[in-house]
């Protein structure tokens, strides 16, 4: 149920520290809270990946400081195989759930969706607050797994049953795995509340003149993503509940009969189906990939248009493509299970929609690149990261060609090729979207400009570094290098070790380069030059209010919208652009109406 007194913009300006910054109902504060949480999670996740990479090239090396993190997992600072897997699980879980889902969608979405549609706040501010705090609690529960019994779970972020159900299956599978499941369940609830809020806000709270087709592409992306998330997390939640029940209540949803672990017969479970978990998980898991990447696509389009100084060749094609991707994402989960004992016929059934996703993805990419032709590119840190995103998206997308075909997946399935693929298209690409968004919107969020020079250095290091890390992953996969190995003992893996050394050094370099970004962010927050209302000469509504915006976004006057979102590259009084809320007439409409 909703609360009238707290209804859109009708909560009074918050008083007191807690109401203002902690338990705030203001979508802008909540957006920043999500962003901060994501930043914290991405730092932890990155350090974990460092530790993993170092262990891979020097399995018996003493890593300074590690013994303080876990005396059992790393006695004397030497990482054990199980601790490698435990860190890997935490890396995956933190990155997928608490970074890729929170920052581009919940972080930027919370802050800018209401502003871009001219609303004063989200539809249900209380749900919005609950959504963040649920996510935060989930985060704390997950981190707690580091400090219990024998540490976090080692079953990977996919937590395949029965490994994830049986406490005797290995270190971390007792308390750690339970905490993991509880954490994800709580996270699901948070995201469900968030999606509910986003969808309702977009449908009901658009200001006068803001027709759906006049919404910026970023808003469209957040809207579509929320629709995906609403259904995806509504499936992961039951899966987690079943997992928790299997673990703590002794039910048998996922554990079959007659299992024998370390010579001991598992007698308290019987008849369960491990594939059931895989189906439920991947029915969520594949849409999750698009939950991570679609907001980045929207943000990047929004930024590219601004730095192209022209609208995209077609606004609608991009929107319809995003919708198509969202729709298709629900028909392809089986491609994660080509070798898990599904019938070979269903493998074929899942293969074609997977390949079909290429078409809308290609459409978006072609529109991006085609619109760059004949454009006037303004090179900023934001636009560089956006262009870097395009490059990454293409690269990562193309390796999907291989994995979408069962016949090739049979060779590549469990290898580093998969790791390279999803890090490129989901990890790095989405994180590039986050960087682009940060450089673009930091002036609005904090009222200060970030340093462009540092931003460009940061971009170059990150871009080259990311390719140096993740391109070799594909090669290793082609050579059959199996993923999730804590050490490479097989004879055929020995020749590949130099490549792993290279990757590790690239990872250390790229990670270190992120300190530039952190420094830039913190410095600009306090010492950056103050930003005016519209530093990038943008057209959408977030540029029509002060930086940072007042607590009700537009100072009580709801803006009225007269134009499509991206009126660039025209002659107008304000320059080469007209803002959405300016009543000025436009002679030349750039958007190509020849289609649709």
């Amino acid at each position: 149920m909703h609360d009238v007194s707290s209804h859109v913009g009708h909560h009074a300006p918050p008083q007191g520290f807690f109401r203002k910054y902690v338990f705030s109902l203001d979508h802008k504060v909540i957006g920043k809270q999500y962003y901060g949480l994501g930043l914290l999670a991405v730092l932890i996740g990155m350090v974990l990946s460092w530790l993993m990479r170092i262990h891979l090239i020097a399995p018996n090396a003493t890593i300074p400081g590690l013994k303080w993190l876990s005396s059992t997992g790393a006695p004397g600072g030497v990482m054990t195989p199980e601790y490698y897997l435990q860190l890997m699980t935490m890396h995956g879980t933190l990155m997928v759930f608490f970074v890729l889902t929170t920052v581009p969608l919940a972080g930027f979405g919370n802050y800018f969706l209401p502003i871009q549609i001219g609303a004063e706040d989200m539809a249900f501010p209380r749900f919005n607050m609950m959504s963040f705090w649920a996510t935060f609690v989930g985060f704390c529960v997950l981190i707690a797994a580091f400090f219990v019994g024998d540490g976090p779970p080692l079953s990977g972020w996919t937590a395949y049953a029965p490994l994830s159900v049986l406490a005797g299956a290995g270190p971390g599978q007792a308390m750690g795995q339970t905490l993991w499941a509880v954490s994800i369940a709580i996270f699901c609830i948070g995201q469900l509340l968030g999606s509910l809020n986003f969808i309702t806000t977009t449908l009901d709270l658009r200001t006068k003149g803001m027709m759906l087709m006049r919404m910026p592409l970023s808003t469209w992306a957040w809207f579509i993503t929320s629709c995906i998330g609403l259904l995806a997390f509504a499936v992961l939640l039951p899966a987690c509940i079943l997992l928790i029940l299997d673990r703590v209540a002794g039910t048998s949803f996922f554990v079959p009969s007659h299992l024998v672990i370390s010579d001991q017969v598992i007698s308290n479970h019987s008849g369960g189906s491990p594939l059931l978990w895989q189906h439920l998980f991947w029915f969520f898991g594949h849409p999750e990939v698009y939950i991570a990447i679609l907001p980045a696509i929207g943000i990047v389009s929004h930024i590219l248009i601004n730095s192209y100084r022209r609208p995209l060749l077609s606004h609608r094609v991009v929107i319809y493509s995003m919708i198509a991707i969202g729709f298709l994402s629900y028909m392809v989960w089986g491609h994660h299970m080509f070798v898990s004992g599904m019938s070979p016929y269903s493998a074929v059934v899942f293969s074609f929609p997977t390949l079909a996703i290429t078409i809308p993805a290609t459409l978006i990419t072609l529109i991006w690149i085609g619109s760059l032709y004949g454009a006037k590119l303004e090179v900023t840190s934001a636009s560089l990261f956006a262009l870097g995103f395009v490059s990454m998206f293409v690269t990562g997308g193309l390796s999907g060609f291989f994995l979408a075909q069962p016949s090739i997946d049979v060779y590549l399935h469990g290898t580093y090729f998969v790791v390279g693929h999803f890090h490129m298209v989901m990890g790095v690409a989405a994180i590039f979207g986050m960087f682009a968004g940060t450089y673009f919107w930091a002036p609005k969020m904090f009222g200060r400009m970030m340093s462009e020079t540092l931003g460009k250095v940061h971009f170059w290091c990150t871009f080259v570094g990311a390719y140096c890390i993740f391109m070799p992953f594909h090669y290793l996969g082609l050579a059959g290098n199996v993923r999730r190995y804590s050490a490479f003992v097989d004879d055929y893996l020995q020749p590949l070790l130099p490549a792993h050394k290279f990757i590790t050094f690239a990872a250390l370099f790229t990670g270190a380069a992120q300190l530039i970004f952190l420094y830039n962010l913190v410095r600009s927050r306090f010492a950056g030059p103050p930003a005016d209302e519209n530093p990038w000469h943008g057209t959408s509504l977030e540029w029509a209010t002060s930086s940072p915006p007042p607590w009700d976004n537009f100072g009580g006057r709801a803006p009225v919208v007269y134009h499509d979102p991206y009126q660039y590259g025209i002659e107008a009084s304000s320059g080469d652009y007209v803002m959405q809320n300016s009543p000025e007439q436009i002679q030349t409409v750039r958007e190509d109406k020849s289609l649709l």
Partner: protein, 267 residues
């Protein structure tokens, strides 16, 4: 800066292509009768994806170079044909491309997985457990004795929990830690997991299949080239995952016969 980025992009595109073109890291030589289908499919896909990759990155680089060096007062121009051309391209070029890939890929897949094993194939049972593979041959009677989970005792090397004293079929079963198969004879692999999920992966055979606990799957292949190859686990199964492996020993029929006799003697 933009020109610098464009050059970087070109360098990355070419640099990424070199290891592929030089075949530095590639699948090992195929030793199976079906593998060539997969290799051909992989080669086609590599060509198509490679062309798209190089083309996209280079065009992007060139456009960045051009778009960043416009004179002031430059008039925006549209891509010839506008989005219409691009949509057509996406649908017809890319659409047919992926459709073709899917179609031929499915043919390769069907050739391997839609055919049942032949009647005279050699049955071998493989059991995956934390963290080792063990293999069982039915022996002269061609029958596997039933598995009694409660009798599994690795300390006594009763790895399958077979009851030699009471089960007639189990008496002549042969359990080995290494998988010996005769060359050019079809092997019918009966897969059984003892505890959690595992996977059976032999690069040279172009084979990968998960073990699903409680679900006994099967697989059939014919190895053509004698030699020792590594069988590794590709499904995360616990702390010893990285060291879960066994050796596949493809032998000439005569060697195989003496090998299996030798193993039978060791039971």
């Amino acid at each position: 800066m933009a020109k610098f980025v464009a050059v970087t992009l070109i360098a990355i595109a070419i640099g990424s292509a070199i290891p592929i073109l030089l075949h530095i890291w590639m699948p090992p030589a195929d030793i199976s009768t079906h593998g060539h289908l997969i290799d051909a499919q992989m080669a086609d896909t590599m060509v198509e994806a490679g062309i798209c990759f190089i083309a996209a990155q280079l065009i992007l680089a060139v456009f960045i170079w051009l778009a960043a060096s416009r004179p002031s007062g430059y008039k925006i121009r549209n891509f010839p044909g506008g989005s219409f051309v691009l949509v057509l391209a996406a649908f017809f070029l890319v659409g047919t491309e992926v459709l073709a890939l899917g179609f031929f890929g499915t043919k390769a897949w069907a050739n391997i997985y839609f055919t049942p094993p032949s009647a005279d194939s050699l049955p071998v049972q493989v059991q995956a457990g934390q963290f080792a593979f063990y293999f069982r041959y039915p022996g002269p009677d061609g029958k596997f004795g039933p598995i009694h989970p409660e009798m599994i005792n690795e300390a006594n090397q009763n790895l399958f929990g077979i009851d030699v004293d009471h089960d007639q079929d189990a008496k002549d079963d042969i359990v080995t830690a290494e998988m010996g198969v005769p060359a050019n004879k079809e092997v019918h692999l009966l897969m059984h997991s003892k505890d959690v999920g595992h996977s059976f992966y032999v690069r040279e055979l172009r084979i990968q299949q998960d073990f699903v606990p409680g679900l006994d799957l099967s697989l059939h292949f014919t190895a053509t080239k004698t030699g020792r190859y590594e069988i590794v686990c590709t499904q995360l199964c616990g702390l010893g995952h990285y060291n879960m492996k066994a050796y596949l020993n493809v032998m000439s029929p005569t060697d195989y016969d003496s090998w299996i006799k030798q193993q039978a003697a060791l039971q």
